[in-house]
């Protein structure tokens, strides 16, 4: 059967970018407000799921040529690596720190190592959720 879903695919191409913007916003607002790596990763995974629904798995894999199992494993590695990185400075495992720097044009900005940790969490969540979706959709 020839399928016609022009409207769905046209809307999806716009809405995916809105969802990705929300994911980035949630990721960075996690410093002082509700948000953070976990739900940022979940919203990123929602964008990928929307792509899979509107197109199909092969098209999604051609657009995002990542092995999502490797993405999840990379996220777990980043989380553990930031934990062990604190051992280099003679402080307990998973100790985080932050500092204020003077950035040109933006003024005073605050950077912290928690952001790297959160990147790892977000990658792990995206990898695991998309892997689950892809494997339960497989034909038996």
């Amino acid at each position: 059967m020839k399928s016609n879903d022009v409207i769905l695919q046209a809307v999806t191409k716009i809405v995916v970018f809105i969802i990705l913007t929300l994911a980035v916003y949630l990721f960075f607002s996690g410093h002082n407000n509700p948000g953070g790596g976990f739900i940022g990763g979940l919203v990123l995974a929602a964008a990928v799921v929307l792509l899979i629904l509107a197109f199909d798995v092969n098209t999604m894999q051609r657009a995002l040529p990542f092995d999502f199992k490797v993405v999840g494993a990379l996220g777990g590695f980043i989380v553990i690596a930031t934990g062990f990185g604190s051992l280099l400075f003679d402080v307990p495992f998973l100790t985080q720190t932050m500092g204020e720097f003077d950035v040109p044009f933006f003024g005073e900005m605050e950077f912290s190592t928690v952001t790297i940790f959160e990147v790892g969490v977000a990658l792990a969540v995206v990898g695991v959720v998309v892997t689950i979706i892809l494997s339960i959709s497989k034909d038996v």
Partner: protein, 94 residues
């Protein structure tokens, strides 16, 4: 005054969820249930907006965005299931 109005609105939203739940449970066909679920999502969004007016806070606005996205994706998934019989296709026949 406005507090009383908001609380009455919240009670009516709860009543609306109950009525919609009736349609979800006994709805004669699958599309009825899907539309009722989508409507529950919309009512939840309105309820959260009312609560955030009542509490005078901005903390729930992200919840509204995420609920909207999830309701959108779930409606698309269900309508695709009704149309095609599958949620996710490996390869599309064009």
């Amino acid at each position: 005054m406005i507090d009383i109005m908001l609380i009455i609105a919240l009670a009516l939203f709860g009543l609306a969820v109950l009525i919609t739940l009736f349609r979800v449970i006994v709805g004669p066909s699958l599309p009825d249930r899907v539309i009722a679920l989508d409507m529950i999502g919309v009512i939840l969004i309105s309820g959260i907006a009312t609560i955030s007016i009542l509490l005078e806070t901005k903390a729930f606005l992200e919840v509204i965005l995420i609920l909207g996205i999830l309701a959108f994706i779930s409606t698309i998934a269900f309508s695709k299931f009704i149309e095609r019989g599958v949620f996710i296709e490996r390869k599309r026949d064009l």
